[in-house]
């Protein structure tokens, strides 16, 4: 009885895997909902981080004034123990969520990326550590926006 059920389960899971395989090739773990969010609150909610706690252990290195909004360098270091992921959001961009990085064993919770900014805005970082979400912000003033053009 149990053996039969186990085999059925096994067959079902193999079938599910086979079905998933071709989809996997064309993306994706890409979080369509979070990246498609048009407001900060929505994006944070889609990340499961609706109300992250402020933290001084997240260090954001970004220019105070960016002359060119098409490429603003943003460097993030998390000093929170067991940081699992780092997400970068630009509060005032049309789609606030820019990037999310998951760190596995062997990777330091650090990333540097160039982003486009439509206008002066807070750059927000949300880090997940020990099952909780933490955040830090830094304001970047943009002289020439880099989203349309």
């Amino acid at each position: 009885m149990f053996a039969i059920r186990r085999m059925t389960l096994k067959a079902a899971s193999v079938a599910a895997l086979l079905l998933l395989q071709p989809l996997r090739a064309l993306a994706t773990g890409w979080n369509k909902e979070a990246f498609g969010s048009k407001s900060l609150a929505e994006a944070l909610k889609s990340l499961g981080a609706a109300s992250p706690a402020d933290s001084k252990d997240i260090v954001i290195d970004a220019p105070q004034i960016a002359e060119n909004g098409a490429a603003v360098p943003i460097e993030v270091t998390s000093n929170l123990p067991n940081t699992k992921s780092i997400a970068v959001l630009i509060d005032k961009n049309a789609f606030p969520l820019i990037a999310k990085f998951d760190f596995m064993e062997g990777a330091a919770p650090f990333v540097r990326v160039n982003v486009k900014m439509g206008e002066s805005s807070n750059v927000r970082v949300v880090a997940e550590a020990g099952g909780r979400f933490f955040t830090a912000v830094k304001e970047v003033k943009v002289t020439i926006g880099g989203c349309g053009g």
């Binding site: 098409a70 049309a94 999310k100 990777a107 160039n114």
Partner: protein, 103 residues
């Protein structure tokens, strides 16, 4: 077709500093071409970093990452000669990868 990628990994103490450049237009879907038509979105969505064949960083990015994206990552406990592979996948299903050894 996908433009070339550039990668460099240098050892600092026990941490490998990895820098990668991906040739990609990263179209936002907001830009218009010379004829005034909107250029459709075309951007990298997923970035994977592997150290000696094991995935260590998985990134998801949006169209708001700058054109020809440059990333820096840090890998702890890496040694000289370790193999680092970085690949990407965009919203059209195009993909590219490159690898290097830690120097």
């Amino acid at each position: 077709m996908a433009e070339p990628m550039k990668i460099r990994a240098t050892l600092k103490g026990d941490t490998a500093d990895v820098r990668v450049l991906m040739g990609h237009p990263m179209e936002t879907g907001q830009r218009k071409d010379s004829a005034g038509k909107i250029v459709p979105t075309h951007f990298i969505q997923e970035v994977t970093v592997k150290l000696n064949g094991k995935t260590v960083i998985e990134g998801q990015i949006s169209q708001a990452v700058s054109r020809n994206p440059v990333f820096s990552f840090r890998l702890k406990g890496a040694k000289g000669g370790d193999k680092i592979e970085i690949s990407w996948l965009d919203n059209k299903g195009e993909t590219n990868k490159t690898e290097t050894a830690v120097a």
